[in-house]
Symmetry: C2
Subunit: 218 residues, 2 copies
DNA sequence: AATAAAGTTTAGACTTGTCTAAAAAATTAT
DNA sequence: ATAATTTTTTAGACAAGTCTAAACTTTATT
């Protein structure tokens, strides 16, 4: 059994491993958990004793198979709760994160499996992130950042890189939601902004936005 | 904001006040939380500083208005989650308690209000206990223990005094569920057992059972 | 009313998780 | 290759919440 603090560390390491393969260093974990490197050092020793991470002093840390499975299960719970909040409780996609951070620590296998069934076994959360199955496997879809599309290419919005409520509300305001079809009309060399077509409307998108929106090319 | 530990103490005091009016003593709290009197003493000082309880050394403790409201809100959350588990996730009434103990500490007003709406604003939990409203008011129904009924009196099962899964499973086995009509046929002076009629079936009920089942007389 | 018993509080210790400050190791720059 | 810088770890402290053991109040008994 893991404490909430331990679960948060596992989740952080899991997310860091998914973007930067190779041992995860102390500072990166500290930054992602808004804590201090010394606290990370302490906690990593505990996680190492519990055999969920491999750790060699000064050499960073990696999840063991048990660690990966444990972390994936927390992510699974987080994302299922997010779906629940949006689908059943009328939360908007920019409101779910903080509540799901709490709900992900609830311990009950039956609860999460029944929740999964109630929601119709969803495969992705409201931000387009895949939901790990009971064994921790994730079914990644082929996506790329909007910024990488070339002129005339088209695709469908399938996810976001930044889940902050500021960004999500911005997308709402622009009418950009998951499932919408986008065509790149023009790329501006000057500031890397894009001119896109969405809902038959032409709009201009900054590079920052294009670098935080995932597209499945079509 | 209150910690989980603080919330558990408030809830315990709230429940104790509802049965034994007057200042609640340290040992009673310790017993109900399966902790030691010294821990209770420490915590009560903190709760007193936070102005949710009135406390005079050696004189027991009472909830302030703020304390009552806070505690009622936790009970509200607990009972709404129990309804959710039974109605939406197919839990049985003997499985919900431990999970609801965890869920009751989730902090989100929107979550609990939307949950209330999803469930159709239920007034009672799966054990027949009333659900406090947003202001902490509870709508108590007129109920009495089965053991207090006289011969030939009839009533409807509306609640249980003991929510342990052992007792609830026993009731399931006997076919006694909330809403069922019961008629007292005979009371045995020897062991205070009852002969009752339920679903047109005659059965014998021990005094222990009769003292843990609530009836609304009809 | 004095004493015994029961209940309550305090003192000091322990665990978890955090922090700051300082020491040690690794990396980068010259 | 040595010095400077960055990163990581350790040492020591703190807060929350708990415990045991001892001291102190209150209540019950005689």
């Amino acid at each position: 059994m893991f404490s909430q603090a331990e679960e948060n560390y596992l989740k952080a390491i899991y997310h860091l491993e998914s973007v930067s393969k190779g041992g995860i260093n102390t500072n990166a974990i500290a930054k992602s958990l808004a804590t201090k490197a010394s606290s990370v050092s302490d906690m990593i020793k505990k996680l190492s004793d519990k055999e969920v991470v491999l750790y060699k002093k000064y050499k960073g840390v990696t999840l063991t198979e048990l660690g990966k499975k444990t972390a994936a299960n927390i992510v699974r719970k987080h994302r299922l709760w997010e779906v629940f909040l949006v689908k059943k409780l009328n939360f908007s996609w920019d409101e779910v994160h903080d509540v799901a951070e709490q709900l992900e620590h609830i311990k009950s296998k039956k609860l999460i499996n029944q929740l999964d069934a109630l929601l119709g076994f969803p495969t992705h959360d409201p931000h387009g992130d895949p939901i790990p199955d009971k064994d921790g496997c994730i079914n990644a879809i082929d996506k790329c950042l909007l910024a990488t599309l070339k002129e005339t290419e088209t695709g469908v919005c399938v996810g976001v890189n930044d889940s902050s409520s500021e960004f999500l509300q911005f997308l709402d305001k622009k009418g950009i939601t998951l499932g919408k079809k986008i065509e790149v009309l023009e790329k501006e060399d000057f500031d890397d902004s894009l001119s896109i077509l969405i809902d038959n409307k032409k709009m201009s998108i900054s590079n920052k936005i294009a670098n935080n929106l995932y597209i499945r090319k079509s």
